[in-house]
Symmetry: C2
Subunit: 258 residues, 2 copies
């Protein structure tokens, strides 16, 4: 009898010890309520069931964590890009918080090894690890509060594993965006670039006009051809969006299946 109890406790303690270690390693945190984090690891496919048939899994925590992450990332981008307009911030945020991106993050921090799920490669499994990361952040939020979650996600995950410079560059690469859009919508693009009248070898200056289906749609100037092209494309995009085309948001949404 005593042996049974003892081995029960050893088993339980042993189990929990692994959770404590994982939380320490991956998130650098020491939980107050370990049960929250255990729950966060249980994917729908591995649900436990209460007597009344209600399933126990991480979906409620995922609902919460998803919103918490979005708020944390919004705060971060707001401060990090003081000059950026709301459209840029929204597109960058959607790049960071989309499921495929969170899924990649979850794998990079090593969370994938701890997820409790039943096999199968169906649609539900597609962003399994990203969903778990969201649920985990829901657990951190409930256990440790918002400010702790904020520091953890930004310093422990985002700054380490997300190349923000690259992302924001992609986001402001208006030429690529415009080309993507034109291919998708079967439009013909042309770029007319030339040194402008004020051009000298010492202070070069370029002008570009971008034509969509032969129609001049944006002008730009700059110290290099590249810069003038980017500005011309930016103007063209602005005009196209005013006409109801969604050039930038289409690109940001991606073909991510979300």
């Amino acid at each position: 009898m005593f042996g049974t109890i003892q081995s029960y406790f050893r088993l339980r303690y042993g189990r929990d010890k692994a959770y404590y270690r994982m939380l320490k390693t991956i998130f650098g945190l020491r939980p107050n309520n370990i049960e929250l984090y255990k729950l966060a690891l249980i994917h729908r496919s591995a649900s436990l069931f209460l007597d009344d048939g209600a399933p126990i899994n991480n979906e409620r925590l995922e609902f919460l964590g998803d919103a918490v992450i979005e708020s944390i990332v919004s705060d971060f981008l707001f401060i990090e890009f003081p000059e950026a307009d709301e459209g840029f911030l929204s597109r960058l945020r959607s790049r960071i918080v989309r499921r495929s991106s969170l899924n990649r993050l979850a794998i990079e921090i090593g969370l994938d090894r701890y997820v409790i799920a039943q096999g199968g490669n169906g649609f539900a499994q597609k962003h399994l690890y990203g969903d778990t990361l969201e649920a985990m952040m829901g657990a951190v939020y409930l256990d440790k509060g918002y400010d702790f979650s904020n520091r953890l996600f930004i310093n422990g995950i985002l700054r380490k594993y997300v190349d923000l410079d690259d992302m924001s560059e992609q986001e402001t690469d208006f030429k690529s965006r415009l080309i993507e859009w034109s291919q998708k919508n079967r439009k013909r693009l042309q770029f007319d670039s030339a040194p402008s009248a004020s051009y000298t070898a010492k202070s070069p200056h370029f002008r570009t006009t971008v034509l969509v289906d032969g129609r001049p749609s944006g002008d730009g100037e700059g110290d290099s051809k590249k810069e003038s092209e980017q500005r011309a494309c930016q103007e063209a995009i602005r005009r196209l969006e005013r006409l109801g085309e969604s050039v930038l948001s289409e690109a940001a949404g991606g073909s991510d299946g979300e």
Copy 2:
């Protein structure tokens, strides 16, 4: 000269005093940084412009506040409905945070009187006050932190002006949801209800079968006819959603134009 300076200061002080008073009255808060709140009131249509042409308005704060409100409301619903599944929580959240609902809230708390905007009844103006409420919550978040914003929004606004019982009842009124869906999708609904075999006057028991286009689609039992109908409809909805119909989310999304 002295008079000019004096009246300038009086004007400025007078202006800020009005902001302080408004924040005290509407949000019960005493700001650390009043400028944030002033900015939150400036709608895009009334933008100021920097020398480089960059507009100054509340859109960045709105981007932030929108996410903060969503996180706060998610937390609240998570705690308030410990038994609810993630689908219910999501639908209830979307009812609360949608622009038309925030717009109504902004008017109820009296924020509409302070919004700085240029006239016009275009689309941009549609949720003007709701957008401002979001921006205001963004300002509160930056000025006072998340926990303060949380208490303010839940206790000062949500609990006072949102009828959660009514909302959650609408959300769990499966019969109404199913009827709405059937009208929208031109399906014929029938309800077959009868006392079940175990029926006695003392412990009445009912069974309902709901038929969609003549086909039995859900069964339910209950102590009243109404209860059995609700359960039958819930089962029918679950089946329809598994077949790819979005019965509940369509209803939650509403024809809100979002």
